[in-house]
């Protein structure tokens, strides 16, 4: 049996004993191990998408600030797949990282990209989304438990429309509900559809608001549709979050979405031991959206 890490991965791993989550003493090595162990579940979900990173070079409470990164950094190995996309605002091409294999995921973890974000369309059809995204976001004192209640209402409505919704925790206080669809509509149409569902939901429940101007009303849950736009993103399923307890954006079975659900039930140490794979084959279950 080989005794060399280099025989197993192309990535030159560094500073593995650096503490990334001081409260629970999770090291960079353990973060890398987490992403390695989750890779079989993560890779099929993020393949062929331009990714956006949030990097924490000194951990979540580190002296160095975290930073967003869209452009592949200097020193990106040539085996890492990238996709050049023209940015009208900065008037140049941005080389997005595309992660289709284990080594790229390990490389991202080695860059301290604790958080990884993905858009709702793939590189071969950037203008037509293949995911509809509802960000179910509670405003305090509303909690994840309230978001769960709203998400269940949303789920029933979507099932009535003949759609197949999937759910994950945001890893913070909210829930993310997505629907896999055939990429045949524009973002504008997709966004309008998601907004319309939110409007109807808000009529049904006093707790839910559908408009951005109402998001700061205490105790309300906002069904956010605004992310359904080109190159806007959500945090990828199983991404770590920069919280003290290393919470995870965890895909759930709908049966797990209930009153009393707590973000801290889903952390680096508990999620790695979960055997269920609720988003398995999500893209084999695409819905045809009639709009």
């Amino acid at each position: 049996m080989t005794t060399n890490l280099k025989d197993l991965t192309k990535v030159e791993l560094r500073n593995l004993d650096k503490v990334f989550y001081p409260k629970i003493m999770i090291t960079k090595g353990q973060v890398v191990e987490y992403y390695i162990r989750m890779a079989p579940r993560i890779l099929p979900l993020i393949a062929d998408r331009p990714l956006v990173l949030t990097r924490y070079p000194d951990g979540v409470e580190g002296v160095t600030m975290s930073f967003f990164e869209k452009n592949a950094p200097e020193g990106t190995p040539n085996w890492v797949k990238t996709k050049a996309i023209y940015s009208p605002t900065s008037k140049r091409d941005v080389n997005y990282i595309v992660c289709n294999d284990l080594d790229t995921l390990i490389w991202l973890a080695n860059l301290a990209a604790l958080e990884i974000h993905m858009p709702f369309s793939k590189i071969d059809a950037l203008d037509t989304p293949d995911l509809l995204f509802f960000d179910v976001d509670p405003e305090p004192p509303a909690t994840l438990s309230d978001a769960a209640e709203a998400a269940l209402l949303l789920k029933d409505r979507l099932l009535d429309l003949g759609l197949t919704p999937f759910v994950k925790t945001s890893g913070k206080k909210g829930l993310h509900v997505v629907i896999p669809i055939e990429p045949e509509h524009t973002f504008e149409k997709a966004r309008a559809f998601v907004h319309q569902v939110g409007i109807e939901l808000a009529k049904e429940s006093d707790m839910v608001v559908s408009e951005f101007k109402d998001t700061k009303k205490p105790g309300k849950v906002f069904a956010d549709y605004l992310q359904n736009s080109p190159l806007r993103t959500m945090v990828i399923p199983y991404s770590l979050r920069p919280t003290p307890d290393a919470t995870v954006s965890a895909p759930l079975e709908w049966s797990e979405v209930k009153k009393g659900i707590n973000p801290s039930d889903y952390t680096i140490s508990s999620v790695v031991n979960r055997t269920s794979n609720p988003w398995k084959n999500i893209f084999g279950k695409r819905c045809k959206l009639e709009i």
């Binding site: 005794t3 197993l8 593995l16 353990q30 390695i36 162990r37 079989p40 890779l43 031991n273």
Partner: protein, 274 residues
């Protein structure tokens, strides 16, 4: 020195081989009842034994006692034992003076009462010996069955060589065995560690999560899952050297790297299966 046979220890057998000679014989005494037994070693501290050699000519080295005043080698018959009563101030003893003070083994394992085996914490366990029947097998098997049926262990005393030990007489895989114990004064009370005095009570949610992780990772204990990686590696090196291969010295992977390699192997396997 130990003559560890490298080839033999590569075989599949996971337990140590049984010794043929007893180290003690006597009686287990319970009130007026005697059970004659022989005592055998059951514990081996296996390791890799190396001899010190002279680098230049490859010859074995030996230890000598040397006087610190004139650097002359002192023969055994000029050696006495000294007990240091103050700095550099000794009271001396001849070996025979000390021998006379040693307790005589009365060849008995005296049982005063029977206790629950699990009421004795393993921190007190010292060394375990196998007891085999001597002369009468009937008394032995009667005691064995009685302990097995009641799930009890005998709290005992035994003098081995020159020391009196508290001990526990219990059953193990079809045998009566005796585990000598440490005295209370040999074991530190953790309450004397200052940092343990102010442990915080964890929050309920944290505790629930910790309990969940423990529950998820719970299983049966199997000693065969543990292996002495240092010994294995040195044996591998011995083989290579014996064949005349050059040894490439490589820094062993650190703990973190080991965990990553296990995770990588498992993930690569899973990804291949898809």
């Amino acid at each position: 020195m130990e003559q560890e046979n490298v080839e033999d220890s590569q075989t599949e057998k996971t337990s140590a081989s049984a010794p043929s000679r007893s180290i003690w014989s006597g009686n287990i005494t319970i009130g007026l009842v005697n059970v004659p037994v022989k005592l055998f070693s059951m514990i081996y501290d296996k390791g890799i034994a190396f001899h010190f050699l002279h680098k230049n000519d490859g010859q074995p080295l030996k230890y000598v006692k040397m006087c610190t005043k004139d650097d002359k080698i002192v023969p055994w018959n000029e050696v006495v034992r000294g007990y240091e009563v103050a700095k550099n101030e000794y009271i001396t003893f001849e070996q025979k003076e000390l021998d006379a003070a040693k307790p005589e083994s009365d060849r008995r394992i005296r049982i005063s009462k029977f206790v629950d085996y699990f009421s004795v914490d393993p921190v007190y366990f010292d060394r375990t010996y196998a007891l085999l029947p001597d002369k009468s097998k009937d008394a032995y098997s009667l005691l064995y069955k009685a302990l097995e049926k009641t799930n009890k262990a005998g709290a005992a005393r035994i003098t081995l060589r020159t020391k009196e030990y508290p001990a526990l007489l219990h059953t193990y895989k079809g045998a009566l065995v005796l585990t000598t114990l440490r005295y209370a004064y040999d074991v530190v009370d953790p309450a004397d560690f200052e940092p343990l005095h102010k442990l915080e009570t964890p929050q309920k949610t944290e505790l629930d999560l910790a309990v969940k992780i423990v529950t998820d990772l719970s299983g049966e204990f199997d000693i065969a899952e543990f292996e002495d990686t240092y010994m294995k590696r040195v044996q591998e090196l011995v083989k290579q050297k014996a064949k005349g291969e050059k040894i490439h010295i490589e820094k062993p992977p650190e703990i973190e790297v080991k965990g990553l390699m296990v995770a990588l192997r498992e993930t690569l396997k899973q990804l291949e299966q898809k």
